[in-house]
Amino acid sequence: MNNYKQYKAISLISGGLDSMLATKLILDQGIHVEGINFFTGFCVEGHTHAIRKHDKPKRNNALWVAEQLNIKLHIIDIVEEYKNIVLNPQYGYGAHLNPCLDCKIFMIKKAKEWIKENNFDFIITGEVIGQRPKSQRKETMPLVATASQAHDLLLRPLCAKLLPPTLPERQAWVDREKLGNISGRGRKPQINMAEQFGIKEYAQPAGGCCFLTDEKYTAKLQDLWDTQGKRHYELDDILLLKVGRHLRPKPNFKMIIGREEGENNYLEGYKKQFTYLRVLEYVGPLVLIEGELSAEDLYLAARITARFSGGKTASCVKVQVGRKESDPLELEVKPFSADDIKQEWYI
């Protein structure tokens, strides 16, 4: 009789090198590994690459990693549930609006639910002690395991030797001796390990994989909350914060100005929901307006729109204004000069 059991692990795949290496370490021990990736709406992954026409490669790195490792990847939409993490983080924010510790706990908790539903045995992550100031510290790692209720089913292969043995190690489902002892913010040990595995290409996300750690992005999110008078968002709100220049020339309205063709194409999808402006007879941006405009505001917005178009030096430019439930109208305006665009308008 064959008593061999194929143990199964789910790996949190971000698309970066660490989760790729952690997964590889466990795959090489004969464990069946599948990947899981959570879509929060704030992921840097995907959207920014997809929108802007010149950005490349246009690929989702988590999927690319799964393809390289030849493992299944399950992408889970957690946008709605994640709002509570962003709006009410129990452990507070990092440098910006990043609730990293709550986020990590939440994702591990979701992974724990997933392994229970799918008869998997344990969870792995690419976490490294001391790598992140908020969520990957020696003091917070046990907290993540406990608060997520994953407890000793959570194995961090890259730094496992620096942590107490987990259930998969104690039960010899995996060999602890073959796991890592990496700590700190340096990248050399991971780069060396990648070389040993023959991994030559991997994503190197600058500033992490979440827009909530980005100063400029979170300023726009804060502006959204300030102007709507409450801390709340829908998916479209947070996606639009990733696109275009955001200018608030007056407190009652904001302009989202497409920076190139890819962004204009993306903003086209929102034209029916917003007042929009575009320059006629010259190349230029599609501009969405959030807020209510007076006739005077409309001229102001049209002059700003003209400034960002190919007609910026012309004496007069025609601007089309489209409004919900009414026919488009045309304005003839003199484009603003560069000096007329006040720096404080930029959000």
Binding site: F39, A50, I51, P57, R59, N60, N119
Partner: protein, 84 residues
């Protein structure tokens, strides 16, 4: 997801950015039997990489990828189902 006149399940992923089109495909395919054909219509150019990558690791086949004006049309055949 709708069943179109040609008997192919159709997913409208227009104006969705990756990974949302992949999530739509993933959720739809979960409910479909082996060898069913699924057509995805999307506008995000990222789907040309992401959907084939997802299909590859899950054992589904890409039958075609076409650009139709500003849209991308991908035809998928669901792979053979295996119990976990």
């Amino acid at each position: 997801m709708i069943l179109n006149k040609s008997g192919i399940f159709e997913i409208n992923a227009r104006n969705l950015l990756c990974p949302l089109p992949v999530i739509r495909v993933q959720d739809a395919i979960k409910t479909l039997p082996s060898f069913t054909k699924v057509k995805v219509i999307a506008t995000d150019p990222g789907v040309k990489y992401d959907i084939p990558a997802w299909c590859k690791v899950h054992g589904h086949s890409i039958l075609s990828i076409d650009n139709v004006e500003r849209e991308i049309v991908i035809l998928i055949q669901v792979g053979e189902r295996h119990e976990r």
